[in-house]
């Protein structure tokens, strides 16, 4: 069996170290090694976006990143979205707009939406729908999610 590797990465603003096997995905490392279960598994093959995290400013499916690849990277997960001062505007908007039902896809949608608005603060509906196409939601029909993102987008 292959050995374990030590990985140093910046996670939600803090430099951390963890041990993992090369075959463990970043998603597994977050959930099983680091106990950060806010990032969700929906398909484990890059087709649902539930495990979306931001890595070096880009959204990625953490199931398709190896834990060892996190070395030297800067990663944001759902646990890093709110601050001690309060929720991120997108989190607040999702709550107010009832943009979640079961909530399992919500962390992925929030990170993906943050990834968009960080780059394109004025994203319109078409752009939001295109950007979020890699995130599946089965409860809402997307209507209220798109509205929630749109509300923050226009607010900026």
């Amino acid at each position: 069996m292959a050995g374990v590797t030590q990985v140093q990465t910046t996670l939600n603003g803090e430099v951390i170290n963890f041990l993992c096997e090369p075959r463990q995905s970043l998603l597994e490392c977050l959930r099983d090694v680091l106990g950060m279960t806010g990032t969700k598994e929906g398909c484990n093959d890059g087709n649902c976006g539930a495990c979306t995290v931001i890595m070096d400013g880009r959204i990625v499916d953490s199931c398709l990143v190896l834990g060892v690849e996190a070395e030297g990277k800067d990663i944001t997960t759902i646990e890093g979205m709110a601050t001690p001062e309060g929720l991120h505007p997108l989190q607040q908007s999702f709550l107010e707009n009832a943009a979640l039902q079961c909530g399992i896809c919500t962390p992925g949608f929030l990170l993906a939406s943050k990834g968009l608005l960080d780059q394109e603060p004025d994203a319109d509906e078409g752009r939001i729908r295109h950007w979020l196409a890699g995130n599946l939601c089965r409860c809402t029909g997307y209507d209220k999610i798109v509205r929630a993102v749109l509300q923050v987008s226009k607010a900026k």
């Binding site: 959930r31 929906g42 962390p107 997307y142």
Partner: protein
Amino acid sequence: MTSNQVLSEVEYNVVGTRPVRPDGVDKVTGRARYGDDTNLTGTLQAKVLRSPHPHARVKSIDTSKAEAFPGVRAVITAKDLPFASLSKEELGGDYTALKFATDHMMASDKVLFKGHPIAAIAAVNGHVAQSAMDLIEVEYEVLESVVDVREAMKPGAALLHEDLRTNDMGETADTPSNISTHMSYATGDLEKGFAEADLVMEKEYTTATVHQGYIEPHNTTAFWNSDGQLNLWTSTQGSFQVRATVSNILRLPVSQIKVTPMEIGGGFGGKITAYLDAICAVLSKKTGSPVKAIMTRTEVFEASGPAPASWMRVKIGVKNNGKITAVETEMAMDAGAYPGSPVMQAIVCAFACYDVENGKVDGYDVVVNKPKSAAYRAPGAPQAAFAVESLIDEICGELKIDPIDFRLLNAAKEGTRRIEGLVAKRIGLVECLEAARDHDHYKSKLENGTGRGVACGYWPNRGFQSSVVMTVNYDGVVSLIMGSVDIGGTRASIAQQTAETLGIAYEDVKPTVVDTDSIGYTFITGGSRTAFATGIAAISAAEDVKEQMISRAAKIWDTSEDDIEFVAGMISHKSDEELRLSFKDLARQTATTGGSITGRSSVDPSGEGNGHAVHIADVSVDQETGKTDVTRFTAIQDAGKAVHPSYVEGQMQGGAVQGIGWALNEEYFFDDTGKMLNSSFLDYRMPTSLDLPMIDTVIVEVANPGHPYGVRGVGEAAICPPMAAVANAVTSATGNRMRSLPITPGKILEAGWDSVKS
């Protein structure tokens, strides 16, 4: 016109408002604990070995190499389940039912679908368990399989169960068959009805196997304590349902099992069946450790419970003015590997939107070599609605009658007697149709190359048992404890009904969903019952609290309870204006007047009001590629009273979009032997955000007389109309009638080529 309208008749203080849900912050910060977030010290991971064959006899299983693999702690097969050591004599009439239930969970003698569990492994981690699975040696004798529902019905078809005999209207047949049940209802004089018709149309329809598509895979953690108590933490729509299933399969008393429902990442009916719980329990007993399993997405598709494929023949007779004179249908649904398709609901719902004098409906429940079907949002009704609403659209075209006018002419209303004999109470179909007719969507002009379709849908909604306990804290905040799992906002909607009844603020009700040891029996979250039935339980528990508070006030004021009234959160003496206490003030005095106040209620209400929905769909079809895009969509539905309008809209939008997926792209592709070929979200094509417009909504409120605030269930009626609405819109855009779901680009092209030919 606004995108989301509420046509309200009655206003309340809390019911009908849109507060933030109590579990919202946990769910937007990643702190909410879903099933797979359970992590007990020393947890082992389980993996299930599944059959690669849709139909085969299991000749032998050798697990010795897997057991010896480093890191593996236990391997189980069907031999490790109680059924293996029970005899037919001991079980008597329960034998077949228990065999089906146990075999479905883990096959003993035969595998009946690809993905059928055959063994399970617990190991130190999932990778090790996965590797060890390759070391289990199973010898199969592959059998001929049967995949199509109509093929399975034919005499001479390969048989799944050698001892399954058709129950034909209560009579058991002599010879084995794949047809498990034939059921039928009739009313009036069918022959006379069709003879009176000016136009009779009869067509056949098919729908494909589809999946609920919840994003969270099935998961369970089991820990069998040394004291014999079995604990389960799982993702389920019904913790008591899981308890019952595990109790049955493991032959344990229900009180020896505690099921804790974790947050659930979607269900839509698919998370009622307990697939992994008993497997993890047996592995936990064998290893002495907690055991967790999570399905892969492929396992979810291949081995949970999709909605059945169907074949339907519908015949309708009408007068030239559009009045229906007779209806008839035959519907066959594939139950998958074991009996139990929702064909009964299909035939009962098929014509429920119409006032029908003469009618006959027949249903066939048929086993095939596919995963055992499960409930999916209004089980059975969407397929039936697709067929009936498509034929009605065709009739409207023939008669040149506006499809909403036709439906208004024939609509079921209070007093309408349905084919199965039930008489409708106050329902809101006519109001929904009128709202559709008056909506600016329906009045708007269509652009070239686009089409419009309308359809309606019906779901009876459900009552069943619910339990609620509430305690009044000394600060006046009420702890609301319930057994109903919250899939989409019921903590909020039950808290709202509680606050409304007590006359206190929504923020002063704190709801918690608890385990099976901590609350009375509560049926699943499903059937569009929770806001209604658990709502009634909460209202009734709140009334209990009110009575107790009145008696406390009587004690404090040293007066009779009859002198006191509880109105709008104030407890007052009826004749002495000085004697008034707010809910909070009185709560503060409970400790000194007899201790804490606890309200409780277990209910089993009837009086669920039937649900109706009407949808309008606009589509544009690229005639060169056959691709359909939904360009505008309006969902109209009678909610009775929308407790939390945002979550009612969410149900309407979610149901509409699942229906759009069902209409256009979603289907299981099977090869000839029944092997699913597209078991991933890449190839099982659910709609993405880019495939949809905003889904406009109109909430119609026709109060349900069976609920104090008029509430009707809303989850399910929403998925009944969209398939026909979209199909009718495609016909309007292309001129070709599509009678087989899904309406893929390939089928649209083929229909175009065929119409050129003919």
